[in-house]
């Protein structure tokens, strides 16, 4: 059974800190790994990583896929209170459906 595990489940930091969120996956016939940010409402898409695109960056956020370790990290530098959210990781395999982890709840204090 496909599985995605995220760590830590919860994290509290101060504004300006750099954080690293972890995601490990066991997905049959792996095709892609996705990161979403979920605030009060809907998850919003951040990045998609594949075997041909293992590193993505957008502003203060960046993500890397480690195909050997079957894992991914999401880095956020110079955190702001607006970064407070639940960050979801999802894997997609041969079944084409996304398998989500439980998420990491990030709280950024001023």
């Amino acid at each position: 059974e496909d599985k995605v595990v995220q760590s830590p489940l919860s994290l509290v930091v101060h504004e300006g800190d750099t954080v690293t969120l972890n995601c490990s996956y066991e997905v049959t016939n792996f095709r892609s790994l996705l990161w979403y940010k979920q605030e009060k409402k809907a998850p919003t898409f951040l990045f998609m990583l594949t075997s041909s695109g293992i590193e993505k960056k957008s502003g203060r956020l960046s993500s890397i896929l480690d195909k050997k370790e079957l894992s991914s990290i999401l880095n956020i530098t110079a955190t702001q209170t607006g970064d407070s959210a639940i960050y979801l990781c999802a894997g997609r395999g041969g079944s084409e459906k996304l398998v989500f982890g439980k998420g990491t709840k990030l709280t950024v204090n001023p």
């Binding site: 409402k41 998850p43 996304l98």
Partner: protein, 111 residues
């Protein structure tokens, strides 16, 4: 910015009532999905659709049903709500399986 809408946003209802959660998207996406999410837990896929007149059950067993008569519309129905159905229901759509755009969700409470 994705345009996907869900109504109602919040619903409190008594046991045994029939309810329909609405989901609409204006992007012309063929694929649409319903997920169930409990606090602190993963999103679980309960239904999906490849296009009009196509519906499939997801990985999590659900007593709900769905229909896809129009591309933009993917309603979810519970014939007889029970307290175990209390949860958040998220609708999503996409062109391809990977990049799914989510609606704001419906938080359902069954008393």
């Amino acid at each position: 910015e994705a345009d996907i809408y869900q109504t109602p946003r919040y619903l409190v209802i008594g046991t045994g009532k029939k309810i329909t959660l609405e989901c609409s998207q204006t992007m012309g996406h063929d694929k649409m999905y319903w997920y169930q999410q409990d606090p602190g837990m993963e999103l679980h896929l309960i239904h999906y659709s490849y296009g009009v007149n196509s519906t499939e059950k997801g990985d999590l067993s659900s007593e709900s049903t769905v229909s896809r008569i129009r591309t933009e519309h993917f309603p979810l129905t519970l014939e007889s709500a029970r307290p175990s159905h209390t949860s958040q229901y998220l609708c999503a759509s996409s062109e391809v399986w990977d990049t799914q755009y989510f609606g704001p969700g419906t938080r359902l409470t069954v008393l």
